[in-house]
């Protein structure tokens, strides 16, 4: 799923009376991290474009960028750490869910199931992720350096309207395409009888994952829409009191 964190940096917010600043060391690390991630995803974007221009097809594109993708997407795990120690003001759970769903797609779907690597849906979500991540990380970088160009802010809070649903479609189609191969190979599954008295069927697990998009996607999408209204139009949203 595309990332939908709130504006994560801890800086003095204009509308907020609470002032929370983080140490210089933390700022330096975060700046470095965001620059590195922007660079990484730019490299991915370049590599994908170069492959397509040279070869004219998307077959084999995944294999050519697989290592870089795995490295940078897995490295995003440190963002959960950032939230946990408080240098980024986002909920650990939200970030955790985002990063885990990405890691799940990369390691447990496209990496493990070779046969679907040449599917179009893979290219779809890769493109979506690349654009989203470049926008997001450059937004954080510029924000930390206090020089945020309006177009980056605009991009971050508007592109998702189209990209997020597209990404979800790409991911769902990929998982759906993977199902027959999972069923046939029985991968990651455990059957009875066994010493641990437990069984696990990866096939049904994937079906449950696909169904879970139904409640989760709207929640995250509307969360991003609310963030957008707040940031771009300065609207104060009155939350329903639970």
């Amino acid at each position: 799923m595309a990332s939908s964190e709130e504006d994560g940096t801890v800086e003095e917010k204009e509308n907020n009376n609470k002032k929370r600043t983080i140490s210089t060391l933390a700022t330096a690390w975060l700046t470095f991290y965001n620059i590195a991630m922007t660079a990484g995803w730019l490299v991915l974007a370049m590599a994908m474009m170069r492959f397509y221009i040279q070869k004219g097809t998307h077959k084999g594109l995944y294999r050519s960028i697989a290592r870089t993708l795995k490295f940078f997407q897995t490295f995003a795990l440190v963002e959960v750490g950032h939230c946990a120690i408080g240098i980024v003001r986002t909920s650990v759970i939200v970030t955790g869910v985002q990063v885990c769903s990405r890691i799940f797609m990369v390691w447990f779907i496209t990496n493990s199931i070779r046969q679907i690597q040449s599917e179009e849906s893979v290219i779809l979500f890769l493109v979506v992720w690349t654009v989203t991540e470049i926008t997001r990380y450059s937004y954080y970088t510029f924000n930390l350096l206090h020089h945020l160009p309006y177009f980056i802010k605009w991009a971050r809070y508007n592109l998702f309207i189209v990209l997020y649903p597209l990404g979800v479609v790409g991911e769902l189609m990929t998982i759906y395409a993977a199902l027959p191969f999972v069923r046939r190979s029985g991968m990651y599954s455990m059957r009875l009888p066994n010493v641990y008295n437990v069984s696990f069927d990866y096939y049904y697990c994937l079906i449950v994952v696909m169904l879970s998009y139904i409640p989760l996607f709207p929640q995250l999408y509307f969360h991003m829409l609310r963030q957008r209204r707040k940031v771009l139009h300065g609207e104060v949203i009155v939350e329903k009191d639970d």
Partner: protein
């Protein structure tokens, strides 16, 4: 002069029959904490007139009701799997019984545990909190019922594998389980005897003549300690991963509760024994 917040809530209820007192949350300030029912009006920091802010806590259920439904569910669900009702396993196994003695033993232990809990809720526990929101019952029951079904499915499965170390392992698990069940019951009785009926005063629990309560020297919430122990015993007895998972989650949840209670004790009593930890002696 001795009018309390509860009287205000009763008057409010008369004008608005929908919001019964347990459902009302009154505060002096929208951002302040909720006022407790027993607070006497004269002690509140207001002048001759006061404004209260009302919020609706939603439909409420008594804690007793919630506990009972949480326990009756797993009891019945486990038995459904034990008797292998249709549509659970392959039709050729319907209404058959397992040939392993351990499966019968596990059923007895599991059922005993929940029957004990039901009886305790009805006769032993003195519940000080009034009610909880309706949504909680779905959350809690959902969790307890689903994990019970998950465990029961594998233990009563026709392809169940008995524990690796055989009868020895089963017996060890059983002794741990029974020991902790008795311990858990002793603690509940001891806690009940602390509180006089109707009073909301808090007292520090101390060990009594019953050896099972001697753990109070080392632990603030031994009922949770014994509960975890029972489930560890059950896990060893059945050698089943879903049971281990349930035990782990229960341990984490009870540790959170125990730490909260422990902190509450430390805040309430200046002379609280320093040797005690919240749930595991010396460790947690």
């Amino acid at each position: 002069p001795t009018a309390t917040v509860l009287d205000i809530k009763a008057l409010f209820h008369k004008s608005y029959p929908k919001w019964y007192p347990a459902r009302q949350s009154l505060r002096l300030d929208p951002k302040a904490k909720c006022l407790r029912d027993e607070e006497v009006l004269q002690t509140l920091p207001v002048g001759t007139t006061a404004s209260f802010y009302f919020s609706d806590l939603g439909p409420q259920l008594t804690w007793g009701t919630v506990f009972l439904s949480e326990c009756v569910g797993p009891l019945i669900i486990y038995l459904m799997f034990y008797f292998r009702l249709p549509f659970i396993y392959s039709p050729k196994y319907d209404f058959t019984t397992s040939k392993h003695w351990i499966v019968h033993l596990a059923c007895m232990c599991h059922s005993f545990h929940y029957i004990k809990r039901i009886l305790e809720t009805m006769f032993v526990h003195r519940i000080s909190h009034g009610t909880m929101p309706l949504r909680n019952i779905f959350k809690n029951c959902g969790y307890y019922w689903c994990t019970a079904a998950w465990m029961a499915y594998y233990i009563n499965h026709p392809l169940y594998t008995p524990p690796y170390y055989g009868q020895q392992q089963v017996n060890t698990g059983l002794y741990i389980f029974l020991f902790c069940q008795v311990g858990n019951f002793s603690i509940h009785v001891a806690l009940r005897n602390l509180k006089l009926p109707g009073s909301k005063a808090k007292k520090i629990p101390y060990p009594t003549k019953n050896p099972f309560t001697w753990i109070f020297w080392l632990v603030s919430c031994p009922n949770y300690t014994y509960e975890v122990g029972s489930w560890i015993g059950f896990t060893v007895m059945t050698q089943c991963v879903p049971v281990a998972f349930f035990t782990l989650v229960a341990f984490i949840q009870m540790t959170v509760w125990a730490k909260g209670k422990h902190r509450g004790y430390l805040k309430e009593f200046r002379d609280y024994p320093t040797l005690r930890s919240s749930i595991l002696p010396f460790i947690l």
